[in-house]
Symmetry: D2
């Protein structure tokens, strides 16, 4: 349904030497995870147990921002710089793992945390697979 894959294929140059499928999957997973974390933070705020979820909200917010930025950066072959990309995707994999771990702690009681943890784990894997290709 989304246009990310088509958009990345229409680029005049593309990302030399990197499997396009890995880039697309990382971009899509970043967008999805950013939305999930934004929504999970808001759902935590609406929860009766918000006091137990404050770290989850704050991690969600950082994860959303870093995923957003990583998805944008990997959508820009013209601006590609290997050192910048490596560090940014590493930061993204790290924050996804940290946020997933926190959400998983609440997953049995809070459905939004369960779904968000899934999105974070998928994004973490997509970043790790891209890192292996970039390194």
């Amino acid at each position: 349904m989304g246009h990310a894959s088509a958009m990345l294929e229409t680029h005049p140059d593309g990302l030399a030497g990197v499997d396009q499928g890995l880039v697309t999957r990382c971009v899509e997973a970043c967008l999805d995870c950013a939305q999930a974390c934004t929504a999970c933070a808001d759902a935590c705020l609406a929860d009766d147990m918000v006091a137990d979820l404050v770290r989850c909200v704050a991690l969600n917010l950082n994860c959303a921002d870093i995923c957003d930025t990583t998805g944008r950066m990997m959508s820009r072959p013209t601006g590609f710089d290997a050192a910048v990309a490596l560090r940014t995707v590493q930061a993204c994999a790290t924050v996804c793992a940290t946020c997933a771990f926190e959400c998983e702690r609440h997953a049995s009681r809070h459905e939004h945390c369960r779904v968000c943890a899934e999105a974070c784990r998928r994004c973490q894997r997509a970043c790790e697979e891209l890192l292996a290709a970039l390194a």
Copy 2:
């Protein structure tokens, strides 16, 4: 594949009095359009004819930012304020229409503009349908 629909359904409250399907479609279209515009801007920069595409790049950048913000705002039922939402979604519909119009001018020569225009038009429609429900 994405988690947006599931995330929005797990919210303890949801958005009272607004069809959830319209909200989900708007959020998904915003994320998709933001990515398309980010990628189209970068593809325009890599184009031999970049000098003809500068307004396209600049509009793409504004469209990406407004779509991003609208998608985030509509993912936050707890922070919902009708007056803020109306104006933001109006701004989003307007920028999507403006960016689509510009991309359509280049669509026959630049495939990235053709695909991006599609994403912009879909987001414009999703915003307009949501506006009708919010008003």
Copy 3:
């Protein structure tokens, strides 16, 4: 100390027919308000009374995103479109007023809300003055 004013003055074209001082003030107020709202949301989360502050957090997050986007858009004369700018700056003035109102309710008990309300009111005024010039 910041470079916003110098940056906006070095633009080859600038924003035709709009007082440059109003644009600079709006951009600076947007950046400042976005940071204040991001920090206020996090400070609310760390507060013992977080349950009383959930609407404040959620409004802060929307305000931060809209201010960020408005500050970026007004930093782009090349991408300027009057209809898009009017609606975006209107959305920004509205969310700043809404967020300021909420923060002011907590200002006597929470210093972060008091300072944040100040940043929101200043940004609201800067947006309203720019709107008068754009209309």
Copy 4:
């Protein structure tokens, strides 16, 4: 003039074990650099020599996004995670150095690149000083 310093001081907890001045300086430098890069990208687009500046535009866009995210993350003591912060601030220092280097190549002919390079170098230094304290 800005509220960043006051906001960071009103936080109930603050960032344990890290000099508050270093955090404030990093946050302020990130906001400033994000705006400078956004404005430099737009000024490059308006330049007659845009074809020579495409890599500068694309790097500016990545730098703006990473600085924005870093400034937000360091404004959130509640969401602080040392591993995430280290990698994000490293990515930020790297992109600032890369973008500054590119802008400096154009500084003698393009005033916007000269000013932007200044903002990037200041942000790079602020990130490196914070990294030394975080490590």
